[in-house]
């Protein structure tokens, strides 16, 4: 009995120590994002999923990190050798990119579905099921600078200029002052029967575009949230739009990939994928790379939607691909990470992960991060020799 009591006591001590060591995120250095850092979902406010860093396959895994819960499709952000991993249990993990070791972790909401957005010394965290669902968290002192209730958020926040934009399940697009947390404006698509927004917003600096469950892509003025135009599809839009030049590209559950003019919302082209498109896309200056729920990935000319090549995986594409130099990286529910030549669509390399890939791969430095369904983040590098 004495042994049992001692055991219980030790367990309590360990639980307490464990919770103390991980309860608050505080870092000792000021994190300063640079241009090559992946500071928000899509890599930038255009949501292109395009990285100038070209990582050439074959890649090798260098470490795995157990994030203790699953991930949304928006993946991770990275800056200053730190990987920011939000999970669906509401934890934010800070991971040392060099070693793959945990720096800190803290529980925020009941789920962090979207990746956090990074700015100097702080992160913007969007959460679900909290009374305050968006906050600017100071990494140096481990406290929120401000929080606000922007509705239940299942997408990644958009950070542009001095504003943070978020969409909510209540069907609102909100613009919040990034420094003060004060609501600048709020756009609600309809007065009655408002549908949720599960699409992360994107902007070209003048217009913010976002998809809605009601099947519309909405465009509003970035300064005041005034409605500019909407483009209607047959079914809900879960994918997040990408902007390249004057074109906005997005997929719909009606099975079409659309390209519309950001100025007036007029259709430039549309392409029938013959299967619902849940995932977002990657875009370069000339091409768009989009996958659908039948496991088809298509490369289309951004000008007219002409199909340049296609690639078939063994299962669905759940999240967007990533352009890294001349290589397109994309994961599928078939557990494979594919590396394709962006010009030809030829399979250059593939890697069988331990579970489904439901998030967009992210490149930072010489690393490629892949998140899998078994709650693991795997870091790949070109080769061990290169890394050394």
């Amino acid at each position: 009995m004495k042994k049992f009591k001692l055991y219980i006591f030790m367990m309590c001590i360990m639980v307490t120590l464990n919770s103390l060591s991980c309860s608050v995120i505080k870092v000792t250095k000021q994190i300063k994002p640079r241009a090559t850092d992946w500071v928000q979902y899509g890599g930038s406010h255009l949501r292109t999923n395009y990285s100038k860093i070209g990582l050439k396959p074959p890649l090798v895994p260098v470490w795995e990190y157990d994030a203790e819960a699953g991930f949304g499709p928006y993946s991770v952000t990275a800056a200053d050798s730190i990987l920011f991993v939000g999970n669906l249990r509401g934890d934010l993990h800070l991971v040392d990119i060099q070693s793959g070791k945990k720096i800190k972790k803290q529980k925020f909401g009941t789920a962090i579905s979207g990746s956090v957005a990074l700015t100097t010394g702080s992160v913007y965290i969007a959460m679900l099921n909290n009374s305050k669902t968006l906050g600017k968290f100071d990494l140096l002192n481990g406290k929120f600078e401000w929080t606000i209730n922007a509705g239940q958020i299942e997408t990644a926040p958009l950070l542009y200029d001095k504003q943070v934009f978020v969409t909510s399940l209540e069907g609102k697009l909100s613009a919040i002052n990034a420094r003060t947390g004060i609501l600048n404006w709020e756009f609600v698509a309809a007065k009655k029967n408002v549908k949720p927004m599960r699409s992360a917003p994107a902007t070209d600096g003048n217009t913010v575009v976002v998809g809605s469950d009601d099947g519309n892509l909405y465009a509003v003025d970035i300064d005041n949230g005034n409605f500019k135009w909407k483009f209607t599809t047959e079914k809900s839009i879960f994918s997040s739009p990408s902007i390249v030049g004057n074109a906005v590209v997005f997929g719909s559950l009606d099975g079409y990939l659309y390209c519309v003019n950001i100025a007036d919302g007029n259709l430039i082209w549309k392409k029938n994928f013959s299967a619902p498109i849940f995932s977002s896309q990657a875009v370069s200056d000339s091409f768009v790379y989009a996958g659908s729920s039948d496991g088809m990935l298509r490369c289309l000319d951004i000008k007219d939607g002409t199909e340049k090549w296609s690639f078939k995986a063994q299962s669905n594409f759940y999240a967007a691909s990533l352009i890294s130099g001349n290589i397109l990286y994309i994961g599928s529910l078939d557990k494979k990470l594919y590396a394709l030549d962006i010009h030809t669509g030829n399979l250059v390399w593939s890697y069988l992960m331990k579970s489904r890939i439901k998030s967009t791969p992210v490149v930072w430095g010489g690393y490629l991060f892949v998140l899998t369904d078994n709650q693991i983040v795997t870091a790949f590098v070109e080769s061990i020799a290169d890394r050394k």
């Binding site: 203790e68 699953g70 669906l88 079914k235 559950l253 489904r356």
Partner: protein, 938 residues
Amino acid sequence: MKKFYFIFLLLSAFCNELLYSQFFYFGRNKVQYTQFDWHVLETEHFDIYYYNGMEELAEKGAYFAEQSYKNLEQKFNHNVLTRIPLIFYSTHLHFQQTNVTPGFIPEGVGGFFEFIKGRVVIPFNGSLEQFRHVIEHELVHVFMYSKINSVMRDHRVFTDRLPPLWFVEGIAEYWSTDWDSQAEMILRDAVLNNYIVPLDDIERIYGTFLMYKEGQSIVEFIAEKFGEEKILLLMENFWRETSFEKVFKLTLGVDYEEFDKDWIYSLKKKYYPILLDHDLAGNVTEELVIKGFNSKPVFYKQQNADTSRKMYFVANHSGYTSIYELDLNNPQKKPKLLIEGERTDEFEAFHLFQNKLSISKDGILIFVTKSGENDVLHLFDIAGKKIIETLRFSELVALGSASWSPDGKQIVISATGITGSYDLYIWNLDEKVLKKLTNDIYDDRDPSWSPDGKMIAFSSDRTPFGKHGVYNLFSFNIETSDIEYLTYGGNNYYSPDWSADGKWLIFASDIGGSRNIWMMQNESKHPREMVKITSFTTAAFDPTFADSSRILFAVFENYSFQIRTIENVYAIYDSSSTRRTVNIIPFEEKWIPKSIIGVSETKSLKYIDEYSLDIAQSQISTDPVFGTSGGAFVALSDLLGNEQYYFLIYNTAQSQSELLNSFNFAISRVSLTQRTNFGYGIFRFSGRRYDLTDPDYFYFERVFGGYFALSYPLSKFKRIESVTSISNSEKEIIETIRGRKALFLSNSITFVHDNSLWGPSGPLDGSRFKITFAYTSDIQYSNANYYSFIFDYRYYIRLTQRSAYAMRYWLFYNGGQEARRFFMGGNWDLRGYPRWSLRGQKLWLVSHELRFPFIDQITVKFPFFGLTFAGLRGAAFFDAGNAWDKVYTETLASYGAGLRLNLGGFLVLRYDFGKRIENNLTTVQKDYFHQFFFGWDF
């Protein structure tokens, strides 16, 4: 997780009995009649298990499975990472032999998903479209289970629940099939007869066919009104709330009550206008039989008798499906039970709703039953009221409908062999030859021989529309063997029947959305014209001509299947305004179902390398007398459930020094592969025991040994069991220095019979019987040497639908050295006496009990919630008996009444009160005794 056919409507009411009796003292038998030679077809996502003779079906099933997988992968935006085991059976009779589930499989079950090992088990019923539908339906369950698991795991929420059954089955139906005339029939009837159950109260119809179809309608309404993506989001949001109702509100923005307002209003808007040009059958036709579930009427008029007019039909009025006779001259009289089914080996199962009856001009009724391994065809002499012949076809497994040739010398029958495809056969009674008329994968059903003997009309999916599960009518020319279209199009046509003069053909069709009766002239001119005879709101089935211008038919109304009649059918034909021309486009190709030729390999029956876990449980328990004990139980079985291993280990040590000596373990292997089931194992039990002898005492016992058990089912209702065991026993009586060593050899043989039919608290009909002989001896020390005789007979007389008179007779006898004692007393046997207070090596008991419904439902409404108790049953009883060792002392008895309450289908609470009669039935107790316990009625 079961896909139900239409006849679930009936069977759901009675399947309780089948399931429960399996596990108790008696129980019916799941007989492994057939030795299957299993193969595995490996495709991209599936391991398809099939057996010799059904290769073509397995390949078509493989195609359907892969197509369904692709479809569902998109709908769920999800994939299943493990290979899915699909176990196919070519007929439902074979499916009923599966050991994947231990319970009995009623005829209405079209397949099931077993989620512990992720197995999907599906029989083929002749229709390839139905096969595809069931495969996809079950795969929806597989995907949903996997998706929800994935969502819960992502959010680190404990997976301890699933969505409610209405959603589970609703989505499975919605994503696997279109809204069809059967679904339309159910919903129309429910709305127009005002028994539609709102979503807020849908648990009230849990597990019924109505719930399946309401579920489908609800999911369809969600997709239409809120968007199809909401169906997916209901699963993706599943982690966010603790109840599905809250998930529903969170996802759709409305609660059940608000949803009901819109949904039911939309149903009313849709179905009320139907009354403008359709009628409830009960309002416009003459009733013949409206109680119970009735189908397949056939008319018979004795040749030389002018007045005798009879109708024969298949019905379930009591829980057993049987054939009844109705005098059409006195239709108000209660139908007579002609052939009682499902109580004997001969008529093990009537296939209600499936097999038509036919009567020859000589008065020979033919009907199909399951008897033993396969279906058989019985020839029943109506005048003599006896079976004159039973035809058993070695190459045929399942039989469909049969029809006499006009000369009474041949029978055409729809049937299938091991391939699963229903073809037409002719049996020549004189030559005893079976001739196959059609031979392909199409589903040929409901043959009807024309009165001139020249052709056979039948229903089949051998058209371009067959891929959608559509059946048209055809004629088979006896002389030329040519098959010609009688109808053609995308609507269904079933159950053709000829008029006596052969000039008319009557049939059922779902043209316009609901199944009604149509008629056409038998003429060679083209195009033919067909005319709608009835315009019922719900559905009509199996129309057949009676005498003059009368027709008989079954109709679904008010959630029951009734038999009704219409007169002046020719006048209706002439006056009907709904006429259709049959335009046949003969150049269109028939539907040719696709196949997948996967990688096939044969595996041994035992699947030695594929045992996997069924149950793993560990437990620590504390008893005030016996202290704390801990242990674990593990069960393993192969994929088909044929071979099973059980491991039990626990320890009852009270101190460290007792640890090694207090290990208890047992290992058993059970084989259900063959008809003779057997099991064997070894055991070691050690620990403190309590002996309920006189005087009671504690002892410490170590027993180790082994056993071998056999069970041979003679039929579904009878079996012989035998057990041989040898065990070494060492007994130390605590608080004395006494001890006893023995090496026991025990043999027993038992005969068990059970054809009882159960109600909510116990059997209501049939009988149960068990007789056991056993002999136990100490073959080393001669410390014990005794024999046992156990006689147990129970008989139930059905008084009304829900009441019965039950009798029980026990005689237990143990004799010899150290013979064990029996115990009696309490709610389970001799009521009024303290539990197990009567002990002896001999025992007798007689019980008589009247069982009746008492209160069907009590609801207590509190301000914030309500409690509902349903199915309170009453009993009045008289028991008599006693137990004794050497000298019989007195006869004890009791009488009284009691209440029984079934909780959740697995536990019956019992309360009895009454008076004891003691001193050889001379002294009646002054006060009342009260006893409260649990357990089923005897």
